[in-house]
């Protein structure tokens, strides 16, 4: 690679995105004729939305292909070939924490939880819990690759714990928890952090990135679920104590 690649393969990306969006457009057109019957103005607005989505998705994917994937891979590979390569574990922890702390979707979740708990779980408490959870998941994923621990040893206990916690939680918290898995796995997780983990796995001797590098996203997705459920349980105990207190008074 000796020269800058900016629009290399952009034609291919445009085609990819066109094919990806075509079924949705087709479904919309059928619904428009048969069911929706949007006014001319509204119809044109939706079509403008399609054009913006098409351009946005194309630029996003092109940026990921030329910028994010190569840099993530090279960082992972470089760290994997260094003697102090384990330093990628605390670095990944910090990265996960900061990225989640800044993620808007997480703030929406925190607001929902505060509302559902009647203010017992302040947004700040949730924000720190989820951010630490994601940071720990990323650090664990890197540590697992570094030592060659099978993914299932970490994922199965995680799921079992989630189901046990759900057993003792109120339905409204189970609801929020299981739908919250997606808030932490934003576009940056899959484009950058996953690539870094894959590069790291490929540089370490005796690691197969295909079987040992993947699985990171699943672990990141588990952390908000566990955070919401465990805070929910703490909250319900506090609520019961308060009730007892009020009953005594």
């Amino acid at each position: 690679m000796n020269e800058l690649k900016i629009f290399d393969g952009f034609g291919h990306v445009l085609l990819e995105v066109a094919v990806a969006l075509a079924p949705l457009l087709l479904l919309f057109l059928i619904l428009q004729v048969w069911l929706l019957k949007f006014s001319r103005r509204r119809f044109i607005r939706v079509l403008k939305g399609f054009v913006l989505t098409f351009l946005g998705l194309s630029f996003f994917l092109q940026g990921v292909y030329v910028g994010f994937l190569p840099v993530g891979e090279i960082i992972g590979k470089t760290m994997g070939s260094l003697e102090f390569g384990w330093l990628i574990i605390p670095a990944g922890f910090l990265m996960g924490f900061v990225a989640t702390f800044a993620e808007p979707a997480v703030r929406v979740l925190n607001y929902e939880v505060e509302k559902a708990s009647g203010g017992y779980i302040p947004q700040q408490v949730m924000l720190y819990t989820v951010s630490l959870g994601v940071a720990a998941s990323i650090a664990l994923s890197l540590w697992k690759v570094w030592l060659g621990i099978p993914l299932w040893y970490l994922v199965i206990p995680g799921y079992v714990l989630a189901f046990i916690l759900a057993r003792y939680s109120s339905p409204s918290f189970v609801a929020i928890a299981f739908d919250s898995g997606g808030v932490a796995t934003g576009p940056m997780t899959v484009t950058f952090i996953l690539t870094m983990v894959l590069g790291f796995a490929s540089a370490l001797e005796g690691r197969d990135p295909l079987t040992e590098g993947f699985g990171m996203i699943a672990m990141v997705a588990l952390s908000p679920i566990l955070a919401v459920l465990s805070l929910g349980l703490l909250f319900s105990r506090k609520e019961k104590q308060d009730e007892r207190y009020h009953a005594e008074v």
Partner: protein, 229 residues
């Protein structure tokens, strides 16, 4: 205009931590400057791309989702809801950015053995079938926990049968389907289902589309592995 400002802020907040992280690492690792230049160009493209994408979804996709949800609830037939739940979930998952990026990486790391398009189609089928099931579940009044437990039990059975290369990939496929494209659509559809069912639907029934929508692709990718292996 206020919406666009919010979107810009949202995207910048998402992209900034990664950028700062890479720049700090660059000071330590001294990566080739060409890779860094490409990365910075990538940052600009990704930022602009995400802003356009999110504004586009707001203008177009959300309108379709909400209007379809309420129009279908007027028709009030369960099988039509299930059918459109299936169709919509399939077409939006195919266009979900995270799904495409994951599939690209799987294709590259497996040296083309697990093809990108095939993986995307299986992931989308998994989401579509399970969103369809999620709607049926609400109609039939099956508790979500039973369906989730049964699905995860099936995940473990298939995981034993599927080749190792598909196991980790399948779990990650379950994590990428809850993106900016899929979630608003599925939630709008959920509102439609809730209004068809009227009084029968409690608040605990309204959720679970997203949770079930992430189990689906795990199962379908494992199934793809079993077929391959």
């Amino acid at each position: 205009m206020k919406d666009i400002k919010g979107t810009v802020l949202e995207v910048v907040l998402a992209v900034l931590p990664v950028t700062v992280f890479v720049l700090i690492l660059q000071a330590v690792l001294r990566l080739p400057s060409l890779v860094m230049a490409q990365f910075l160009i990538g940052v600009v493209m990704v930022t602009i791309g995400l802003i356009f994408f999110l504004v586009g979804i707001h203008l177009g996709m959300l309108q379709i989702g909400e209007a379809t949800g309420s129009a279908l609830s007027r028709i009030g037939r369960v099988w039509i809801l299930v059918l459109f739940g299936f169709l919509f979930s399939f077409v939006v998952t195919v266009a979900e950015p995270d799904v495409r990026v994951l599939a690209t990486q799987v294709d590259a790391v497996s040296g083309g053995a697990i093809s990108k398009d095939l993986l995307i189609i299986f992931v989308a089928l998994g989401v579509a079938i399970f969103v369809g099931l999620a709607i049926l579940r609400v109609v039939l009044g099956v508790p979500l926990r039973h369906l989730l437990l049964a699905s995860y039990a099936l995940v473990f059975i298939l995981a034993v049968l599927a080749p190792a290369e598909f196991r980790a990939v399948s779990l990650d496929a379950g994590g990428v389907t809850t993106g900016p494209m899929t979630v608003p659509f599925i939630l709008a559809l959920g509102v439609g289902v809730a209004s068809v069912l009227g009084g029968r639907s409690t608040s605990a029934d309204g959720f679970g589309y997203v949770a079930l929508g992430s189990v689906g692709p795990i199962l379908s990718v494992l199934l793809l592995g079993v077929i391959y292996g």
